[in-house]
């Protein structure tokens, strides 16, 4: 018996799949976490692109706790949903695409946090996003919104 099959048959996996409220509960949690991640990272990326330029760019890192809370909620709820139907998800190309998009979004977020959120030394001018950083921000928006779309379409596409 493979790992995925085992996962589905654990007490937890069967509980999520069969309980009347567990699946919708984790789905709801996944949706709320999604809004938190998109709200916070979306604004950071838009700011790097030049939107709301009156917000100090360095200070947008104050939004990161919200992104982390949302991400953690979605990791927990996502793993729980995955456990209930592991083989189906794993074999879905749309699910795999979603995972790739999340990894790319995460790499971009890590690069941005190294380049944008480092507090400039006292008296130094604030960071002005270069073309390279703007490409990272723009592609991040594509990755995160792409992940939402792929996630929804797991139910419809192979």
């Amino acid at each position: 018996m493979g790992f995925l099959e085992w996962l589905e048959q654990t007490d937890f996996g069967t509980w999520v799949g069969e309980s009347l409220w567990a699946y919708p509960f984790f789905e709801t949690m996944h949706t709320i976490g999604m809004a938190m991640v998109i709200g916070s990272l979306g604004l950071i990326n838009l700011r790097v692109l030049g939107y709301k330029s009156d917000l100090p760019i360095f200070a947008t890192h104050k939004l990161l706790p919200l992104a982390w809370i949302g991400f953690t909620m979605n990791l927990v709820s996502g793993l729980s949903l995955f456990a209930s139907d592991a083989q189906h998800f794993w074999n879905s190309y749309t699910f795999r695409l979603k995972m790739v998009l999340i990894i790319l979004g995460g790499i971009n977020a890590a690069i941005l946090s190294r380049r944008v959120f480092q507090e400039p030394p006292a008296g130094a001018p604030p960071v002005v996003p270069t073309g390279g950083l703007k490409w990272i921000a723009a592609s991040s928006l594509v990755f995160w919104f792409g992940a939402i779309c792929a996630g929804r379409l797991i139910a419809y596409l192979p």
């Binding site: 709200g39 916070s40 979306g42 919200l66 919104f145």
Partner: protein
């Protein structure tokens, strides 16, 4: 009920029923709109409540156009999805709960908007939201979570 049956047989409903890509597309856009609408509102509410103070209250309230774009996407896609499944949604308790929460959230947002416009002591620029505005922000946060929850629960009555 007759109205719901009629809705379900309009040309739009038939088009959605016979074109395989339409329903998944509208549903997906509903999630994109949701993340803009609820993501944006959460940022504003949390900021009013004191989160991320280094970002000015005025700029954060200035995210409202972004929220409106999300709302328009969702009002449009939501209406299309409703027309397609009118008799199902029209008898769905979770749907009525969702609409109720949306109306209350809308009135609450209106109250917040009035509080911003009628502010005699410019609390927005001064970054000193009065206590009653913090109540609006807390209610807004809770109400939109209820909208998302009941919306998600519509699939499991």
């Amino acid at each position: 009920m007759e109205f719901l049956v009629w809705l379900e047989h309009t040309a739009i409903a038939n088009a959605i029923r016979t074109t395989p890509w339409m329903y998944p597309t509208f549903e997906t856009l509903h999630y994109v709109g949701l993340s803009m609408l609820v993501g944006g509102i959460m940022l504003i509410d949390l900021r009013v409540l004191g989160f991320a103070r280094q970002l000015s209250l005025k700029s954060m309230i200035g995210l409202l156009p972004f929220v409106w774009v999300g709302f328009i996407i969702n009002a449009t896609t939501g209406s299309l999805l409703f027309i397609y499944g009118a008799t199902g949604f029209g008898t769905n308790k979770a749907f009525y709960l969702k609409m109720t929460f949306m109306v209350i959230a809308g009135l609450n947002a209106l109250a917040f908007d009035l509080a911003v416009r009628r502010a005699t002591l410019d609390w927005v620029s001064a970054d000193r939201p009065p206590p009653y505005v913090k109540v609006f922000a807390t209610l807004s946060f809770a109400l939109w979570l209820c909208v998302v929850t009941t919306g998600r629960w519509m699939a499991y009555r």
